[in-house]
Symmetry: C2
C-alpha cells in the first residue's frame, strides 16, 4: 500500500488540489486551512503542494485564478450581450428592460443555482472580509466587470450619464440579488430546508426583476426628465 489512493499520476494532481482548495479555502479561509487537509481532500501527497505551487499561498492564488476564469466564462457572453445593447443608441426601452431581465436571471442562476457556486461565493466573501494579496485578481477580473455592466444598464434605463451616484445605485440594485448568496445560511432558516429549491429561485428571480423595473420606473421620473443620453462605463469584458 505505497500509494494512498488511485491517482491520475499526471498533472491531474494540480487540478485535484485546486478543486480541494476551492472547497476548503472557501469553508475555512486561507489561514485556517491546513496543507494536510488540502492534500488529504485532494488524495495527493502533502509534498505535492510545495512542489506544484511553491507553497500554500501559490495554491491559493492558482485556485483564485481558476475560479475567476471559470465564472467569467459562465457570465461573459451574457454580459457582452448586455453591454452591446447598452452601447447601441438605437436600443429601445423594452430592449433594455429585456437585457436587464436576462442579467438578473444570469446572476441568480450563477450565484444561487449551481452547487459549486457556494465555494466561489465563500471565497469572494473571505476576500471582502480580509483581502489577501490576490484580492485585485478577483476584483478586477470579476466584480468590477459585473458592476460596470449594471452601471451602464441602469444609466441607460434611467437616462443619466455615468456618475458616482449611478454607480452606488447600481450597487444597491445588485444587492437585491447578492444578499441571497451572502446571507444564505440565515435565509435557509427563514425558508426552511437545507438548500434553495428551484421554486425559490424562480420566485427570487421574479421578485428581483419586478423590483428593478419598479426602480427604473420610479427613480427615472424623479429626475429632470429626459431618457436619452447613453452612459458609458469602463467595463471591458
Amino acid at each position: 500500500m505505497k500509494r494512498q489512493q488511485a491517482q491520475g499520476t499526471e498533472k491531474e494532481t494540480r487540478s485535484r488540489l485546486i478543486e480541494a482548495g476551492l472547497k476548503l479555502f472557501g469553508l475555512h479561509g486561507f489561514e485556517a486551512t491546513s496543507t494536510r487537509a488540502l492534500a488529504q481532500a485532494a488524495g495527493v501527497n502533502l509534498s505535492a503542494i510545495p512542489y506544484h505551487f511553491g507553497g500554500k499561498e501559490g495554491l491559493y492564488r492558482a485556485m483564485l485564478e481558476h475560479i475567476v476564469r471559470v465564472k467569467l466564462t459562465e457570465i461573459g457572453p451574457g454580459m457582452l450581450c448586455v453591454m452591446a445593447t447598452c452601447g447601441n443608441p438605437k436600443a429601445g426601452r423594452e430592449e433594455l428592460l429585456e437585457a436587464m431581465r436576462q442579467l438578473v436571471r444570469t446572476m441568480v442562476s450563477v450565484m444561487l443555482g449551481s452547487p459549486e457556486s457556494r465555494s466561489f461565493s465563500q471565497i469572494m466573501m473571505q476576500e471582502q472580509i480580509a483581502p489577501t494579496a490576490a484580492f485585485g485578481l478577483f476584483h478586477d477580473g470579476f466584480f468590477a466587470k459585473v458592476h460596470g455592466v449594471w452601471t451602464a444598464l441602469m444609466g441607460r434605463l434611467l437616462g443619466v450619464p455615468d456618475s458616482l451616484e449611478l454607480r452606488l445605485r447600481a450597487l444597491a440594485v445588485m444587492g437585491q440579488m447578492v444578499i441571497f448568496r451572502v446571507g444564505m445560511t440565515g435565509i435557509l432558516r427563514v425558508v426552511g430546508g437545507d438548500k434553495l429549491t428551484d421554486e425559490h429561485l424562480e420566485t427570487i428571480t421574479r421578485l428581483c426583476i419586478q423590483q428593478v423595473e419598479a426602480i427604473v420606473a420610479g427613480c427615472a421620473s424623479a429626475l429632470p426628465e429626459g431618457p436619452a443620453q447613453p452612459a458609458q462605463t469602463e467595463a471591458g469584458i
Copy 2:
C-alpha cells in the same frame, strides 16, 4: 518586570478579552485566531482565557453574546417604533413610509457609520460562511428580528399578508443596504479612499429610500389591488 502591562487587575480582564476577540475573530475567523494573539491584544496573560471563559470557544461565544446585546440596544428602540406603526391599523401610508425611511437611516448608520460596526459585520459574515455552534445566537437575536420588521413593514406598504414571497421580497429590499457592508472592500475601490465619507452615506441613504419607495409604489400596483389588510410576523423585539 513581572506584569507585562498596566492591568485593571479586576474582571476588566474579561471585557478586554472580549474587545480583542471582537477585533481578531472578525478579521481572521474563529479557527485562524490564536489564543496567544488574543491575550497579547488584550494585554492579559494567556491563561486568563481558559480561566475566565473555559477556553477559546467560550470567549468566542461570550463575545458574540456581547455584540448582539450591544447592537440590539442600538437598533431596538427604532425597531419597536416601526413595529408599533405596522401594528397600528389606523397608520396611514405616509406614516408607514416615514417609518420605512427611518429604518433605512438606522440600518445605514448602524451598518456603515460607526467604526466598530466593521468587526460586528465581519463576524456576522464569518458566521454566514461557516456557521459555528453559536450561529443561532446571532440569527435569532438579531437577523430574524430585523428581517421580521422589514417583512411587516413591506406587508403593510404593499397591502399583502405575510407569506414566503413577502419575506423574500423583504430580503431583497434589505440587500440594497447590506451590500454596502458586505462588499465594502470592493466598493472602496469603486469610490476611492479607505472609508466611506459622510457624503457617501447620505447619498446611499437617499438612494435606498428612493428605491424602496419606488418598489412599494411599483410592486403594489402589480397586485390584485387592495392596500388594506395588515401583515403580522413573529418578530418579537
